[in-house]
C-alpha cells in the first residue's frame, strides 16, 4: 500500500496545470463570441484548440511556409504575426564585411572579454514591456 507521501506525489503528477489570464473587456467579449461560434462550451477546450492552432502555425513558419487565406475569387492575404516571424527561417540574416581600425578592434576585444554589463533599467523595461 503506497504511503501518504507517495499518494500525494501521484496526485501531483496527474494534476493538470492551471492557466489563468487577465483579459481586457474587449478580449473577453471576443473569447465569448468565438466560443459561441465554435460551439465550444469550456475554456479548457477553447484553450486546447487555440494551442493546437498556434502550434500548427509555428510549425508551418518554422518550415518556411507562408500562411494565407484565399478568397473564393483567388485573392490571397498573407498572415503576418510578429511573433510567428521570429521562428521563420527568414529570420536568419545575410553576412557583410565591416571595416575596423586597430583601436576599435582593441576596444571590441576588451569589451567582449569583460564581464557583460548589467542591463540598464530602460533596456529591462523595453524587453519585458
Amino acid at each position: 500500500m503506497p504511503s501518504t507521501g507517495t499518494k500525494r506525489a501521484q496526485r501531483n503528477h496527474t494534476r493538470k496545470p492551471k492557466f489563468q489570464a487577465d483579459l481586457a473587456p474587449i478580449e473577453d467579449r471576443i473569447v465569448r463570441s468565438l466560443k459561441e461560434e465554435l460551439q465550444v462550451s469550456s475554456n479548457s477546450d477553447f484553450m486546447s484548440d487555440a494551442v493546437a492552432l498556434f502550434q500548427w502555425a509555428v510549425g508551418e513558419r518554422k518550415r518556411g511556409h507562408k500562411i494565407f487565406s484565399e478568397s473564393t475569387t483567388g485573392e490571397r492575404e498573407v498572415l503576418v504575426l510578429p511573433r510567428l516571424e521570429r521562428v521563420a527561417p527568414g529570420a536568419l540574416l545575410p553576412y557583410v564585411n565591416v571595416a575596423w581600425n586597430e583601436k576599435e578592434l582593441e576596444s571590441l576585444i576588451d569589451s567582449t572579454r569583460a564581464e557583460p554589463a548589467r542591463p540598464t533599467e530602460a533596456l529591462v523595461r523595453l524587453m519585458r514591456g
Partner: protein, 173 residues
Amino acid sequence: MGLITRRLQEDDVVENFDCKDDPLNNYLKKHAWTNQQKILVGVTYVAVGESAPTMVLGYFTLATSAVPRDSFPKKHVRGLPAYDLPLILLARLAVDYRFGGKGFGPQLLREAFRISIAVSEQVGCRCIITDAYRDKMSWYAKYGFLPLEGGAENQPTQRMFLDIRTLKATLKN
C-alpha cells in the same frame, strides 16, 4: 496605434517615408529591397500600422558579420578561442518624423533585439554593433550600448557595442 513589425515586402509604400535624414530616407527608398532580395547584404524590417499595413512608419536593417581572429592586434589574440568573432550589425534604424514621440523607435529596437537573440541562438553571435549618429549616442546608451574607442571625432558616427549576454540577462527573472 497597433504596430506590426515584419520584413520589408516589395509592395510596401516607402515613397513618402521621411525621417529628416537623406541617407536613411534614400536607403529605404532606393536600396533596402534590392539589398534584401537580390544582393543579400541586409534584411530590412519595417513597422506598419494595423490600419494601413503597407505604409512604412519606421524601419531597421540587420546583417551578420564577423571579425577574423587574425585581424585583432597580436597582443590581444593570446587566449582567444580559435574562431572569428561573430556579431550582428544594426545598420540603420529610423522613424518617420510625423510619427515621432510615439515610442516607435524603442519598439523597433526591441524587435531588433529579439531577432538578434533568436539569431544568436541559431547560429551564434557575441554582440550587436551599430554606428550611431553622435547626437543619438545617448539614446542607444540608454538601452545598454557602449561606445567603442577608436572612432575619429570628426566622423558623424560612433561605433557602439552591446553584449548579447546583457540582452539575454533581461529575459531572466
